[in-house]
């Protein structure tokens, strides 16, 4: 069985239907790209997987490792290994990035019944990871995302992912707002985290990101369901032809 199974998922927000019977499976260790035009439901899928309020699941199920996660709180899901790299990372004033990371990691470990990390162990883990991502010590002392540039915010998301070591990482338009150099750093960070034990869903509007993070499978999302699936070449085809061809499909 696939690590993540999304079955016939119907989701609405404030009475408006966004997902219309979406099916998706992600195998263990695979990287799946989800592409689609604006408003196709890409970000909704990311939020529903992570357990954000306001999204009402009216039908269907989401199984993680065979277990339904729809009734679980966001923190329970996180402890089970679900990680969302936000399209718009949130600022947390007054809370140092280092403190934030330690609180998060120890909270997850506690939920899983694991021992907390010792401070020196933890500091070393964060420093090593940060260096790879070009994140300075000074940035780790600054409040989470406060005053960070767009690129810094996205790198910070990948840093968190590297520290938390999720089993399912969902990257929501991680490429948006990044110039090519920043994009390369972020993609490298993500590639370093590819592992047979980790599944990834890479959500993007553009093919560009997929040049650097090469997916195993590409799905095209339109009007709340998967309308086409294929290999990495599907992304190139989309780049050439645009999304217009899918406009009528799901209607």
């Amino acid at each position: 069985m696939a690590f993540l199974e999304v079955k016939n998922l119907h989701v609405e927000i404030e009475g408006k239907k966004i997902l219309n019977g979406l099916n998706l499976s992600v195998e263990k260790g695979k990287v799946v790209a989800i592409m689609g035009p604006n408003g196709s439901g890409k970000s909704t899928l990311a939020y529903v997987l992570a357990g954000k309020d306001d999204y009402k699941v009216t039908e269907g199920d989401v199984l993680l490792n065979g277990e339904s996660i729809l009734e679980m709180a966001p923190d329970e899901r996180a402890a089970k290994g679900v990680f969302l790299a936000f399209q718009y990372p949130v600022e947390v004033p007054g809370v140092a990035t280092m403190t934030f990371l330690r609180t998060a990691l120890n909270a997850q470990r506690k939920t899983r019944g694991e021992a907390e990390f010792s401070t020196p162990e933890f500091m070393k883990l964060v420093r090593d990871t940060a260096t790879h991502l070009g994140i300075s010590q000074e940035m780790l002392r600054r409040a989470v995302n406060v005053g960070f540039s767009g690129g810094e915010k996205k790198r910070n998301e990948i840093l968190q992912m590297a520290v938390l070591q999720p089993r399912l990482a969902v990257l929501d338009e991680t490429d948006s707002g990044l110039d090519i150099d920043a994009l390369k750093i972020v993609a490298e960070g993500v590639n370093r985290l590819r592992s047979p034990e980790r599944s990834m869903i890479v959500i993007t509007h553009y093919q560009r990101l997929l040049e650097f993070i090469v997916p195993d499978v590409v799905h095209v999302l339109a009007k709340g369901k998967v309308v086409k699936s294929g290999g990495k070449e599907l992304a190139l085809e989309l780049e050439a032809k645009g999304y217009a061809q899918y406009a009528g499909e799901a209607a």
Partner: protein, 492 residues
């Protein structure tokens, strides 16, 4: 931030009621007859074996009080207080005498439960004391009397006087006469005047010239008796070049009826002296429906009397049903400095109207105000501040920053700054923000694995960080825990 973890565990241990200090100590007490009259004032004065001048001082205040009216300008709403329906003096029957051994064990148990180490011998013997841990001398006030003061001997060697006010009146009348009422005069305001008439105990501190007080001084206030008001009076004097850091903590049992607390604190800093005054106020705030709780009407004022003197107020206010409190600084000496750092948290039906006054009288005086108000539940939280520069206050400087954080939809935050400059060289800056803990922020934290409580604690601790840093270490940890406990149940 391991303290956040601790906080969360602490919160989990609390079953139903958030207020863990709500127990009542069963102890026989001796009370003044109910109600307020000249006889009550005489009774209190006689109980304390006070000299005649003290009684005369009290009676004058009492007569003045009869002509005064309760102030109504604050943004608080409470039922009319019947001043004849309260006790103005209550003392545990077995009075503390020469040593701690004579203190009623029930009271010592109470303080133990509250986590206040009174037994200095235990502290001194301290089996395993963490490296660098500072000792704190404690004066404990139970209802109307001081029950124990620790480290007296060691302080005496340094020349520091730290004792209950009632003893100071007898042992150091010259100092008390000189300073009592010199910062908050008996005619100051309704509640301060009431306090002047009926105050029962409190702490007295005198630090002689050039002495740096060798340890933190601390007073722990506990209201135990029902229907009893607590009127403590604290007077701290730092003589030329002296330094002292003073902490106060407060708790009370949970009771359905309201209890009145009207304290007066006076600080005097002479040339080059510095006083740092920190409060962690956790009086009972009332239950979830707003029943019961302490009415806290407090007058705190510091006088930077000498040149280059400095007074700093730091407060963490989490308790009380009503808070009416404006720790202030009179910047009389040239180049003197006043500071006010405040965290005021309100939850449930609490009403807070608090802030500060910075009165710039001398030249080159500076002041800084950092206020963080956090409102949750159905509470109302008002910052009220006054900054003035008098005619002669050339180059007065003030910086004010007031931030409010709202948690939920039924609470309110208000900022009421008054600014008056009579000297054109004064520069006053005022910044204010109001924000809400957003769902997005909480979701972000929870997506990373934190529970709703952990996420709120983290966000709030971030919000109040600037002020927490001002507190002495051991109080900062305590305050951090308290903040999370106060906000328990305000999310999710």
């Amino acid at each position: 931030m391991p303290a956040v973890q601790e906080t969360v565990e602490q919160v989990r241990r609390i079953d139903v009621d958030q207020y863990k200090y709500g127990f009542v100590t069963d102890i026989e007490s001796e009370k003044a007859p109910k109600g307020l009259s000249e006889d009550t004032v005489r009774f209190i004065s006689a109980k304390k074996n006070e000299p005649d001048w003290m009684l005369a001082w009290r009676l004058e205040a009492y007569r003045r009080w009869l002509t005064m009216r309760e102030p109504t300008w604050a943004r608080v709403d409470y039922p009319k207080i019947d001043y004849q329906d309260a006790y103005y003096y209550s003392a545990p029957k077995k009075k503390a005498l020469a040593s701690l051994d004579e203190v009623d064990p029930e009271i010592l148990k109470t303080y133990e439960k509250l986590g206040i180490p009174l037994r200095e011998q235990e502290i001194l013997a301290g089996v395993v004391r963490p490296e660098g841990e500072r000792r704190v001398a404690v004066d404990a006030v139970f209802d109307s009397v001081s029950v124990a003061t620790t480290f007296k001997e060691e302080l005496k060697r340094a020349g520091v006087i730290f004792m209950p006010m009632s003893e100071a009146i007898r042992e150091h009348p010259e100092l008390v006469k000189k300073y009592l009422g010199s910062v908050v005069p008996t005619s100051d305001n309704f509640f301060a005047t009431l306090n002047s008439a009926v105050f029962s105990d409190g702490s007295f501190v005198y630090v002689p010239p050039g002495v740096r007080c060798p340890m933190e001084l601390s007073t722990y206030f506990r209201i135990n008796e029902a229907n009893t008001g607590q009127f403590e009076r604290t007077l701290i004097i730092a003589d030329k070049g002296a330094y002292v850091s003073y902490l106060e903590g407060c708790t009370a049992p949970m009771r359905d009826e309201n209890q009145l607390h009207a304290a007066v604190v006076e600080l005097v800093a002479h040339d080059d002296a510095e006083i740092k005054y920190s409060t962690v106020q956790n009086w009972y705030p009332g239950d979830a429906d707003g029943k019961g709780g302490i009415f806290n009407f407090v007058t705190k004022r510091g006088d930077c009397r000498g040149t280059r003197s400095k007074i700093s107020w730091t407060q963490v206010e989490t308790g009380s049903a009503i808070t009416w409190k404006y720790p202030s600084c009179i910047l009389r000496g040239d180049n003197s400095r006043g500071e006010f750092y405040s965290i005021a948290i309100s939850n449930g039906h609490q009403q807070v109207d608090s802030g500060t006054k910075m009165l710039h009288l001398g030249k080159n005086t500076t002041s800084r105000i950092i206020s963080k108000g956090i409102a949750a539940g159905k509470s109302n939280n008002t910052y009220r501040g006054l900054v003035t520069a008098h005619r002669k206050a050339t180059n007065a400087r003030n910086f004010t920053n007031c931030d409010s954080l709202l948690i939920g939809h039924d609470c309110g935050a208000h900022t009421v700054p008054y600014i008056e400059a009579k000297n054109s060289s004064a520069v006053f800056e005022h910044e204010a923000t109001t924000s809400k803990i957003s769902e997005d922020m909480l979701f972000y934290c929870r997506q990373r694995g934190m529970s709703a409580e952990e996420a709120t604690a983290l966000v709030v601790n971030g919000f109040v960080k600037d002020v927490l840093q001002q507190l002495p270490m051991e109080f900062a940890v305590e305050a951090q825990k308290l903040i999370s406990i106060s906000l328990e149940g305000s999310v999710g």
